[in-house]
Point group: C2
Chain length 417, copies 2
């Protein structure tokens, strides 16, 4: 470990530069044993120890990627609360460059450059979603819902909140028995199976993750729903047929902004004249390039759009936006649950993979909690419809009605027993 | 009146051309006594009688403007249901050119070209809103709310629905006693007064319609709210100061898409770090030029944006879209009430103005009912917030909760007694 006297004044200057770049966040930076000291008045929420010169230099050149890699490799240590650290950095740097046309342009271009060919998409999805299923089983709910949950009350468990989310999506779509649904990007199949089981619809669910499709088919068979739900291993670009409702939960992030209109043309082709659909995706307030480290190590090919960019999906057809809800605090809570379960399974994950993997995933989960808490990340549910969709309830009260809750509890009982 | 034999085959061809352009709408066109005949199978909802050659020619060159002007002047007569006629035309022509990049571009440009200088804006607003107040009193509710109402139940009266709308806006904004609100484009002041009276906030409300400001000030004085509500005759571009909540109901339509970022800069300047705001405006599914006749005769300088265009308001600051609700069917219902009341006051309006004015306004109101019913027009309420806004309820259930309805009924009683 280098000691204080060995550092050059250039290195100390670099350290102060980094401290400055994170603004007024109450964080203590150390280069080996050299503290920069946190801003006066606030006790620091965490201490970040940079172990060596090389890491320091990389932090200056490419801070996002360097921090993530160095943290994963143990060349950066964090003492204290990792989430609070990241949340503070998010909050203090969040406003930077907002409103600047140049940064909007750079953000937008970075989104448009994500073209994700069918082949590349398959590789990207394999990278993240085809990790051993028993890994995800350690920290997701038993249904393996790997998207934002919905907490009807703050004390709901993760299992309850994921069930509530699946049901909320169905109620927003006002599914009726016998209707046809197409789902694009179905994960391990929980939503498609929920729709079939509780709403009596037929679902064709698409996914390019081979392992997820196998798991979902198995579940459909076990639950006797194979005649109602078809799981298809296929790219969303190859979706055809007709449907009354279209759903996509947590796929848009992997589509790339350059393909939004293409996705819209698909929806326009399959959705009938009184159809409706729901897109559920992570968004942000302004177009920005995706975090360099997360993109390289966790989600290759991903892009998080501003709402305005995402609405480009509706350009190729006659769709009305009916309802947009921002559930970012629900995602922060969902991720807190995941992080907590992940931490409790740390020994097991280290056995499965290695320390580096564990550290990288902790950083990704903690960083996501921080991003949603600080308002740097958003979670949008966008309900859209053909102008011909004559939805019966004219207000949204039905989504929150007492009678509905009773109905939901009945389903609960059914599902949990 | 020309008879059948006098029409040339060119004219008959033109008539068939018009019939074709309105697609499969069950409408009978007559040139004098020459019927084109409606599409077989459907009984026509209305018969449109074109009185002379000159009108026919103008309909070919500039259909929107020609139809409106000729209808106002009695050179076109409509037998049957005017709203149904317009709704059918809207529905059958709605999808045309959707998804075409060229039409999107033309739409977007037409919006961006609405710059509305301060001087022009004053002229535009004077044209519509400074019409004698007793005219609006004939067919609006007693509070003179000239924007979309909110019908909590289908049987609510117009008065109830306008009260419910004002309250809904306040509850979405979660106003707390003592907070400061800025309202841009306050009409006759109903919302500002509602906020002050029922939520105990201080409001600074801006409007460039001289007559409306005078009326609103008078009402504030009569109701003893002058110390809480300040009505300011000033362009939104001159808004300054600081606020906890920003509201604008029915103004964006008059701003022009070229000024959305300018409006956003104003909001960014006045809204505090934990502030929130609501924009309520007429929108459409795709960028399109505003109806030529309505724009020329009824609302000069107006532009109806697609949601994606309107979100440009949020470019210049760090704002999160929290909630978007589409209330188009509520606006159809609101307009039905207005049209009904207008029709019952037709004799009085003819005395005040003339037949041409009455016919023009009937067309404008009926056309608006039709546009919202057919889904050609939308009504968006966009709730947005600074990332620092920690709204207490984490779901939207509070907007529809039983307890809240009781609270609202109490206010009702208070307001109506």
């Amino acid at each position: 470990m280098p000691n204080n006297s060995k550092f050059t004044s250039l290195e100390k200057w670099l350290l102060r530069k980094i401290q400055k770049s994170i603004g007024r966040a109450p964080i203590q930076l150390s280069l080996g044993d050299t503290d920069t000291g946190a801003p006066t008045g606030t006790p620091p929420v965490a201490r970040v120890i940079i172990r060596d010169r090389w890491t320091l230099a990389r932090l200056i050149v490419n801070p996002e990627l360097a921090f993530g890699d160095a943290f994963s490799e143990g060349r950066i240590e964090v003492e204290g609360d990792l989430v609070a650290l990241l949340e503070n950095v998010s909050a203090t740097t969040r406003g930077a460059k907002i409103g600047n046309w140049y940064s909007r342009l750079v953000g937008r271009l970075s989104g448009l450059l994500e073209f994700n060919s069918r082949r590349q998409a398959r590789k990207n999805i394999h990278h993240h979603y085809d990790i051993r299923k028993d890994f995800y089983q350690l920290w997701l709910d038993p249904q393996l819902v790997y998207t934002c949950a919905y907490f009807p009350t703050p004390s709901a468990t993760l299992e309850e909140a994921q069930f509530a989310k699946l049901d909320y999506v169905c109620r927003k779509l006002q599914l009726r028995p016998g209707e046809n649904v197409i789902e694009a990007g179905c994960g391990w199949g929980a939503l498609a199976l929920h729709m079939a089981k509780h709403y009596g619809v037929k679902v064709r669910a698409f996914n390019i993750s081979h392992d997820q499709i196998l798991f979902a088919r198995e579940r459909a068979k076990t639950e006797g729903l194979s005649h109602q739900v078809e799981f298809i291993e296929e790219d969303y670009r190859n979706i055809s047929g007709q449907c009354d409702a279209f759903a996509s939960v947590g796929m848009l992030e992997h589509v790339g902004a350059g393909n939004y209109r293409g996705l819209g043309r698909i929806i326009n082709n399959v959705l009938g004249p009184s159809g409706r659909g729901l897109l559920h995706f992570i968004g942000r307030n302004q177009p920005r390039p995706f975090n360099a480290w997360t993109k390289k190590r966790i989600f290759p090919g991903a892009y998080i759009p501003a709402l305005r960019e995402a609405l480009r999906v509706f350009d190729p057809g006659d769709f009305s936006v009916v309802d947009v809800e921002n559930l970012r605090l629900h995602y922060a809570k969902t991720l807190e649950h995941w992080l907590d379960r992940f931490d409790r399974s740390r020994a097991r994950v280290t056995e499965m993979f290695d320390t580096r993997f564990v550290r990288a995933w902790r950083l990704y989960l903690a960083g996501s909690v921080a991003g949603f808490r600080a308002g740097r990340l958003q979670l949008f549910q966008v309900l859209f419809a053909r102008p011909g969709w004559q939805k019966t309830p004219s207000t949204r009260a039905y989504l929150y009605a007492e009678a509905d809750s009773v109905e939901q509890e009945k389903k609960w009982f059914h599902a949990m027993s």
